[in-house]
Amino acid sequence: MNEEKSISWNKLQEKWLTRRTLIRGAAGTAAGAGLLLGSGLRSAAFADEEDEGKHNKCKALARPIPHITTPPGQHFFFPGPPDGSAPPAGFDPSTITDFKGVVANADLIFGGTGTDLNTGVGTAYTFHTDWRFFKGTFVAIDRLEHKGTLTFI
């Protein structure tokens, strides 16, 4: 592997680590009984809307809420009423802090068909997801206000 490739590989690893850190720190995870591609599918929350590119070329990275749910030790509340009537679930549905805007979250169980792309064999699967999105203004780790839509899978 030449130096250029090494540098690229290092950058790629750094990107993965950054994303992983973000997921651990900010995005949290779905909970429940998914299988392959079930609740194992996780995506970080990035903004990408009207002011993207005005501040810089990189996506604005939101900060997580301070609260840590243990287990699993991540910055989110499990879905529930915001008035704290079902602790430890509920409270703030947002997983990002320094945020003002609208939110929607859904803790869902649903069925479907999973197909092995190698054999073509399909099997019924049950999927459990905690999916949320946040649309509005947030102060990112660059300490600037950004507008955008972020999602939590």
Binding site: L37, I65, D83, F91, D92, V103, N105, A106, N118, T137
Partner: protein, 124 residues
């Protein structure tokens, strides 16, 4: 996410989320892998080909929530009806090769809500 991905109408008690080609998501294979920081996450290998989620039907209002402990405030509306249509794929190139296509009619809601809120530095 691109502009227009998510919309919330608090007056109507509805919300929608639509996205396509959400790439570079983790396929952790099991719930345990996904939740535990002591297990490997694996590589970024999956993608969500498309997802549509629709919220409707307010069942309970939580107006004027002001939580000084967790530093958030807002108006929230518990939602009774949600459907999700999602297709997700782990490409064959990863050595696995799997696609999940949901049946929206099977959606069961454990808990869902929409709302407007302020937290962190915007909390007062």
């Amino acid at each position: 996410m691109p502009e227009g991905t998510g919309e919330v109408d608090l007056d109507d008690g509805t919300a929608e989320f639509h996205a396509e080609n959400i790439c570079a998501v983790f396929d952790a294979f099991t719930v345990g892998n996904s939740l535990s920081p002591n297990r490997p996450l694996g590589f970024v290998s999956g993608r969500i080909d498309s997802v549509d989620i629709k919220w409707s039907g307010v069942t309970k209002n939580f107006l004027g929530i002001h939580d000084a402990t967790n530093h958030f405030m807002g108006d929230f509306f518990q939602i009774g009806n949600v459907t999700i249509a999602v297709t997700a794929t782990t490409p064959k190139s990863t050595g696995h090769g799997f696609r999940f296509v949901s049946d929206p009619a099977t959606t069961t809601v454990n808990y869902a809500q929409i709302g407007s809120e302020r937290n962190g530095v915007f909390f007062s």
